[in-house]
Structure formats: C-alpha cells, structure tokens
C-alpha cells in the first residue's frame, strides 16, 4: 500500500467516527459495490424489515443489517448467519420490547450450530469467549453495530445502560459439536444434521466456573446452580441462563450416564436460596406490577407472609427451560461458564435455521 492510499484509508476511518457510526473501534469503509457483495449472499429483499422498532420510528432492514455486517469486518459469506441471528432476536422477543434501551445494559449473545461453523471458521474451542477469531468477533459486532446504527440505540441517548457489559462489543460463540458427547442444542430443538442454525438472546454477565478437580456430577451441578442463583444478579423472581460446558466437564457427566436433561434437573433441584439469604440481600419480596425483587418492607412489595421456617428454600431456577446447555471450549481443564440471560423465562431457546443461498 502506498503512503497516499494509507492516508485515504485513515480519512475514511475518521469520517465514520465523525458520523458516530462506530462502537469506538475503527470500522471497515463500505462502498455500494462492497455492500452489493453482502446482499448477493441472500435471496431476501434488501428492503425487508427484520426488526421493527415503531416506538423509535426505526426499522432494521436486510440492507441495514448487511451494511453493519460489512462495517463490522464480516466477510460477505457471514451475512446469512447475521440475518439468522437477527431473526432469532425477533423470536426471542426482548429486543423489540426495548431491552437495549434499559438501564440493565444487556448485550446480544449469539450461538452458532452446524456445518456453517467450519465453512466460515467460527471458533468453538479454546478461548471461546476470548478474542482472536474473525468470524466470531465480527458476527457479534455486526449485531451491536446494527443496534447502534440501524436501530439508533446510541449510548447516552437511547441506550441508557447504567454500566453495560464488555460483551456489548461482540459476543458470538459456536457449539463444539464434534467434542460433545451429546446432540447439539440446535438438534435438541429440531434442526437437522445438515442444517446450520443460530440461537440468540440478551445477556448480562458471563461467569467463570472453576471446577478442576471434581469427579462427581452432583458437585458440578452444585457449583453451577449456586452461581446462577447468586443474589447480586436477581432482579426478576427467577434465574435463567446458558450453561457453557467445556468438553471435559461434558464428558465427565456423560461418563456417569448423565444426559443434558439430567444435569438441568440436578440444577433445578439445587436452584434455590433460603428466604433468610434473600432477605439478607433485601430481595425476599416481589414488587406489585413489575414483579422485581425488593425488600418485604418496601411500599411496592406485594404483601406476603414470611415462611415460619426462614431457612425454607425459595425456588429460583424454576424449570428445565430456565437452563440451556451448549458445549464449547478447550478440553484442557475443568473450566466452564454460565451466561446470565435476560430473556423471558420458561421458553425454548430462540433458534433459527441459517438460510444460505
């Protein structure tokens, strides 16, 4: 590249900053012809609305999703995955309920399944939450830039996140189906083996679970349930999350003939706190209207009789649907994670097939 070209590239980058079209990091300059390469990967009408946001007078179209994928650094062939992710967000329902305007500050979370993972080089193994992989980094970023530029959710204005989360830059992983002893989450939800799919939802924290030396499935279930039920995360009555098991933990469970549902059941059985523990954090009652957790003596608290036994369990993980399990990460240590989701509880994951042209 000559010196003159480099200066042009810098000028283009600065232009995008001046227009406020970035997430703080530089974006890839996009021309009409480059955008056309993206749009050519889908049979969908570029003007099709994929996320309607009537209360903001905004619509995210296929073209806007493609433009932001290009800005994010995606290759054109990633677009079908990005579009499936947006469809999954619509199905999940929280984005169109204005969750990204909320003070909670949730991030988009995308999981990819099926043969498209290998075709576009999505990482499902070591450092799965970390940086270093173009497809993961840019597909996650395409969603965030689509929210900022397409839906107009700029921080300090319509995005009112109190603190947000680092996952807002980008949060896209793939399931390691090859190293999992079980069928993938997509297969569990009706996706065929030759098809690719995306599940999407909104999340708060991603928590490390360090359980390196255990050989007992029950101990793993105790660790995961305890973390998902931490009082600091409780705002709603119940806790929900994705369990992202590294292959070593998944194989340990499988060795003891535990299925994914066995592990979910074990987490539900351990998914409670005592009334006393909740009261110590001022979260033993539920608010009239919102149902959010607050102290029993708060004026908005629904009247209730405290249990006679303050050490009686209050169920926080209410059903198997509150937990979704995927396998990802390197099989090199007993380190897994929990993703604190913020979608509506008690539902199957929002899963959408990738439509490749």
């Amino acid at each position: 590249m000559t010196e003159v070209d480099a200066a042009e590239v810098r000028r283009a980058m600065e232009y995008y900053y001046e227009r406020g079209w970035t997430d703080g990091l530089p974006v890839v300059p996009v021309t009409e012809s480059y955008l056309a390469e993206f749009v050519a990967t889908t049979s969908r009408d570029p003007d099709e609305v994929i996320i309607p946001m009537p209360h903001l007078n905004r619509n995210l179209t296929v073209r806007l999703a493609a433009l932001n994928a290009a800005l994010a650094g995606c290759l054109p062939e990633y677009l079908p995955v990005v579009l499936a992710a947006w469809d999954a967000f619509l199905l999940d329902g929280m984005v169109t309920r204005s969750i990204w305007q909320s003070t909670t500050g949730t991030a988009p979370f995308v999981v990819v399944y099926g043969p498209v993972r290998q075709r576009i080089g999505l990482n499902s193994r070591g450092n799965v939450w970390g940086s270093g992989f173009r497809a993961n980094a840019t597909i996650g970023r395409a969603i965030r830039l689509g929210a900022i530029n397409g839906l107009g959710l700029k921080p300090h204005v319509f995005d009112q996140a109190t603190q947000g989360t680092p996952a807002k830059y980008s949060c896209c992983i793939a399931e390691d189906e090859e190293d999992s002893p079980w069928a993938s989450l997509a297969a569990d939800n009706g996706i065929g083996p030759d098809d690719s799919a995306v599940s999407a939802t909104v999340i708060r924290s991603v928590l490390h679970i360090e359980a390196r030396h255990t050989t007992a499935p029950e101990q793993l279930a105790a660790d995961f349930a305890d973390s998902l039920c931490r009082t600091g995360a409780l705002v709603r009555p119940q806790a929900t999350g994705y369990v992202v098991l590294n292959p070593e933990h998944a194989r340990l469970l499988d060795k003891h003939c535990w299925s994914k549902d066995d592990f979910r059941t074990a987490m539900v059985e351990r998914g409670w706190r005592t009334y006393r523990d909740l009261a110590a954090a001022g979260k033993e009652a539920l608010a009239i209207g919102t149902g959010w957790r607050l102290p029993a003596d708060h004026p908005d608290a629904r009247p209730h009789e405290p249990p006679e036994d303050r050490d009686a369990p209050v169920q926080l993980i209410s059903s198997l649907d509150a937990i979704q399990i995927v396998v990802a990460g390197a099989p090199n240590a007993g380190v897994s994670s929990i993703v604190e989701t913020f979608s509506l509880p008690g539902r199957a994951p929002a899963m959408v097939k990738v439509e490749e042209k």
């Binding site: 007078n57 305007q101 107009g152 300090h156 204005v157 319509f158 009112q160 004026p299």
Partner: protein, 79 residues
C-alpha cells in the same frame, strides 16, 4: 394520547433528560414539555417519594393544562 385530545403529562427523572429529549425529537415533537423529577426514585423512602410528588404537583398541573407543546410554541423549554 395528547394527539387524540386527551390531556397527558410525562414525568422523568433528571438522569433521563437526554433520552427524553431525543425521544421527543424522534417522535416529531422537539421541545415537547414534560416534568423533570430529581433522581433516583427506586431507592427513596415512601416519605421522600411523597414529598417529591408534592413538590412536582404544580408543574404536573401546569404541563397538563398547557396542551400539546412542541417546536414553534413560545413555551418549548422543559419545565
């Protein structure tokens, strides 16, 4: 509601002023009048909330009676 002729007043705390004004502009009513309350709400006692509402009541009534105000009106500033 105000477009339909029903008197209404929006209330928000000072922490949300930027968003409130962006929302008014987005909906085609730059300078829309609303009542600003001191932040926070969630962590105040019942007595503090009552006092806050009592203090805001004259503003609420004033904005409620003013009809739909927006850009072009002489009274465009949020109260």
């Amino acid at each position: 509601m105000e477009r339909a002729g029903i008197p209404a007043v929006s209330l928000c705390t000072d922490a949300f002023r930027i968003t409130a004004e962006a929302m008014a502009k987005q909906m085609g009513f730059p300078g829309y009048r609303y009542v600003v309350l001191p932040h926070p709400v969630a962590s105040r006692t019942e007595e503090e909330i009552t006092e806050m509402v009592r203090n805001a009541l004259p503003d609420v009534i004033r904005v409620l009676g003013a009809g739909l105000t927006y850009q072009g009106s002489a009274e465009v500033a949020p109260s």
